[in-house]
C-alpha cells in the first residue's frame, strides 16, 4: 500500500468504519444512560434562587470559589485546551468542509495561521496538564489506564494534524493519512471511554442541578 492508497483508505473505508462505530456507540450509550431514569421524588420541591439544572450547567463551567488558587494548572490548562480543541476542530476550513459533507451544516472558518497558533497552544496546555498529572502524587494515584489512554487519543490528532501542516517528519500525504487515522481511533474509542463526557457532561450537570434544585440547594 502506497501513501496515496493509505490516504484514500482512511478517507473511505476507514472513515466509514470509524464513523459507524462512533454513531453506534454514541446512540447506544445515550439511550442506555437516559433510559435509566430515577424514582420520582415525592417530596415538595423547595425553591431557591439559582438552584436548577440550567444554573448548574453554567455555574460548573466556571471554577468553584477558591479552586482557581488550589488547582490553577488543572483549571487554566484544562480550559485552554478545551477551547483550543473546539477552535481547531470546528473552525479550520478543511474540517468545516468535512462536517458540511457529513451533516450539511457549515460556517465560516479562521485563517490557517491562527489555527496553527491555537494548535500549538492547545498542545502546550495538554502537555502541561499531563505533566501535572504525573507530578502530583494524588492525581497520579487516581489515574487509571483510561486516563492516559484518553489523553493520548486526544493529543495525537492535534499533533499529527499540526505536523502535517508544518511538513514535519513525514511527507504531507502520509502525515495527513496518519492524522485522519488518529482521528478515526478517537472516534472509535470516544463512546466507550471517559471521552464520552463530550456528550454527557452537560446532561449530568443538569441532572445534578435538578436534583439539588428540588432540595433547594444551589450547586
Amino acid at each position: 500500500m502506497n501513501d496515496m492508497q493509505f490516504l484514500t483508505w482512511v478517507r473511505g473505508t476507514g472513515l466509514d468504519i470509524a464513523l459507524s462505530i462512533f454513531v453506534l456507540g454514541v446512540l447506544w450509550r445515550l439511550f442506555e444512560i437516559y433510559s435509566l431514569g430515577r424514582k420520582p421524588d415525592l417530596t415538595a420541591p423547595r425553591h431557591a434562587a439559582g438552584a436548577s439544572g440550567l444554573h448548574t450547567i453554567f455555574r460548573r463551567t466556571l471554577p468553584a470559589e477558591g479552586m482557581l488558587k488550589r488547582a490553577p494548572v488543572s483549571i487554566i490548562g484544562g480550559t485552554a485546551f478545551h477551547i483550543g480543541l473546539a477552535i481547531v476542530v470546528f473552525l479550520f476550513a478543511p474540517h468545516i468542509l468535512l462536517i458540511k459533507n457529513l451533516t450539511g451544516l457549515s460556517w465560516p472558518g479562521l485563517p490557517s495561521q491562527f489555527i496553527d497558533l491555537v494548535a500549538v497552544v492547545t498542545m502546550a496546555a495538554m502537555v502541561v496538564v499531563l505533566v501535572d498529572r504525573i507530578n502530583k502524587p494524588v492525581k497520579r494515584y487516581l489515574s487509571t489506564f483510561g486516563d492516559w489512554f484518553a489523553w493520548t487519543l486526544t493529543f495525537l490528532p492535534v499533533l499529527t494534524g499540526w505536523m502535517a501542516v508544518q511538513h514535519l517528519l513525514l511527507p504531507y500525504t502520509t502525515m495527513l493519512a496518519i492524522h485522519i487515522l488518529t482521528v478515526e481511533l478517537l472516534l472509535v474509542f470516544l463512546p466507550f471511554t471517559k471521552l464520552f463526557h463530550a456528550f454527557t457532561a452537560f446532561g449530568s450537570r443538569w441532572y445534578i442541578g435538578k436534583i439539588n434544585g428540588h432540595k433547594g440547594v444551589a450547586v
Binding site: N2, M4, Q5, L7, T8, R11, G12, T13, L15, D16, I17, L19, S20, I21, V23, L24, G25, V26, L27, W28, R29, L30, F31, E32, S35, L36, A93, P94, H95, L97, L98, N101, L102, P108, G109, L110, P111, S112, Q113, H167, P171, Y172, T173, L176
Partner: protein, 363 residues
C-alpha cells in the same frame, strides 16, 4: 566557462549568454537555488564531448501517446531540441520513419551495438492479464519485450504515470492486470517521471542530467527526480495565500472563482501532489491547470484515478458512507434493548424487595 558543448552551441548560433540564460531558467524550473544555474552551466559546458551519441530506446506499451505529444511539443526548440540532438533515438514507434520488420531490426541492432550502455525510456503500463495478450508488439507481449530490452539497458526512464505507477490502465478494476515498470524490473536503476502527461522540461532535465553526469538525478521515495517532485503543488501554488486566509471558491463560477481564490473545496489535490506545474507551468509558461481555474487532479501520484474523485475536497470522505446509517439504527436498537433489560432488572429487584419491619430489626 567554455568547452565542447559551448562550441557545438556556437555552431548552431546559440551564444554563451543564451546558454547561461537557459541554465538559469532550467535551475529555476528545477527548483534549485539561483547559484545552481551557473554551476550547471559550468558542468554542462565542460562535460567532455561524447565520441558517439548515447543510444536511447523508447518502448511504448499500454499508453495513449500523450507523453510523446507532450515531449515533442516542448518549447524552446533550439535548446531543448539540443538534448535530442545529443542522443541517438534508435527506436520510437511514433516518431521513427521505419515500420514493421525494419523497425524491429533497428531495435535489435541498437540493443546489440550498445549493450549495457543504452538508456531505455518506457511509456505505458504493462498488462499481465491473459499472459500479457492485452498488448503485443511484433507478436511479443509487452512483458517479454520489456524484460528483453531492459536486460542490456544502463538505466530506465519510466515516462508518465502509466509506466511509473500503472496509471489509468491500472485504475480499479484494472481489467488488463496493468503494472508499472518497477513492478517487473528490479535489477536496473529506474527513474519515474510521472504525470499525465509529464512536464516536457522534466524529461529534458533528466536527460540533460544523464548526459552531463552519466547518472540519474537524485530521487525521492517514489523514484521521482527530487528537483521537480520535491514539493507539492499546494506549497508552490500562487493561490496558496488564499488557502491560508480561508478564502475558497465554492463553485467554478462564483465570486471566489472569479477572484482566483483557492480551489481546495472544489477537489484540488495540490496538497498531496508532488510536481512542478506551479513553477514550470505548461505550454511555454503560458498557464497551468490551477491558473486556468481547475483544481489539480494529482496526476503525478500513484493511483490518482482511484483517490476518491477529482471534485471531492481532500478532507471529504473518499467514498459514500455505506455503514453509518445501519450503524445508527443498530446503535439505537442496542441502546433500547439494553434499556429494556435494565428496566427488567429494576422491576425484578423491585418485586424481590422485602419490606423490613421493626420486628426484623429486633431479631
Amino acid at each position: 566557462m567554455h568547452g565542447p558543448l559551448i562550441d557545438t552551441l556556437a555552431r548552431q548560433g546559440v551564444t554563451r549568454r543564451t546558454f547561461m540564460k537557459y541554465c538559469a531558467t532550467l535551475a529555476s524550473m528545477m527548483a534549485l537555488p539561483p547559484a545552481a544555474g551557473r554551476a550547471m552551466a559550468e558542468a554542462m559546458a565542460s562535460a567532455p564531448a561524447a565520441t558517439r551519441r548515447p543510444s536511447v530506446i523508447w518502448l511504448p506499451f499500454q499508453e495513449c501517446t500523450g507523453c510523446t505529444e507532450s515531449i515533442t511539443r516542448s518549447h524552446s526548440p533550439t535548446l531543448e531540441g539540443l538534448i535530442f540532438d545529443a542522443i541517438s533515438l534508435d527506436y520510437q514507434e511514433t516518431l521513427m520513419a521505419a515500420a514493421g520488420h525494419q523497425a524491429e531490426e533497428a531495435l535489435h541492432a541498437a540493443m546489440k551495438a550498445n549493450e549495457g550502455k543504452y538508456l531505455l525510456i518506457v511509456d505505458g503500463s504493462i498488462p499481465l492479464g491473459l499472459d500479457g495478450a492485452y498488448s503485443c508488439i511484433a507478436g511479443k507481449s509487452n512483458l517479454d519485450t520489456l524484460k528483453e530490452v531492459a536486460k542490456g539497458a544502463a538505466a530506465i526512464v519510466a515516462m508518465g504515470s502509466c509506466a511509473a505507477y500503472g496509471g489509468i490502465p491500472k485504475a480499479n478494476p484494472n481489467p488488463t492486470g496493468a503494472v508499472s515498470v518497477s513492478d517487473i524490473i528490479k535489477d536496473k536503476p529506474i527513474i519515474n517521471i510521472p504525470g499525465c502527461p509529464p512536464i516536457p522540461v522534466v524529461m529534458t532535465g533528466v536527460l540533460a542530467h544523464f548526459l552531463t553526469f552519466g547518472s540519474l538525478p537524485e530521487m525521492d521515495s517514489k523514484g521521482r527526480p527530487k528537483a521537480f517532485y520535491g514539493e507539492t503543488i499546494h506549497d508552490r501554488c500562487y493561490r496558496r495565500p488564499f488557502y491560508d486566509q480561508g478564502k475558497f471558491a465554492k463553485t467554478f463560477d462564483d465570486e471566489g472563482a472569479r477572484n482566483g481564490w483557492c480551489l481546495f473545496e472544489l477537489g484540488c489535490k495540490g496538497p498531496v501532489t508532488y510536481n512542478a506545474c506551479a513553477t514550470v507551468k505548461w505550454n511555454g509558461g503560458t498557464s497551468w491547470p490551477v491558473e486556468s481555474g481547475h483544481g489539480c487532479l494529482g496526476c503525478s501520484e500513484p493511483d490518482f484515478w482511484d483517490a476518491g474523485g477529482f471534485y471531492k475536497a481532500l478532507s471529504m470522505p473518499a467514498d459514500p458512507l455505506k455503514m453509518a446509517s445501519t450503524a445508527a439504527i443498530a446503535g439505537a436498537a442496542a441502546g433500547v434493548a439494553i434499556s429494556f433489560a435494565n428496566r427488567g432488572k429494576k422491576s425484578a429487584a423491585k418485586s424481590a424487595h422485602e419490606t423490613t419491619t421493626l420486628a426484623d430489626l429486633e431479631k
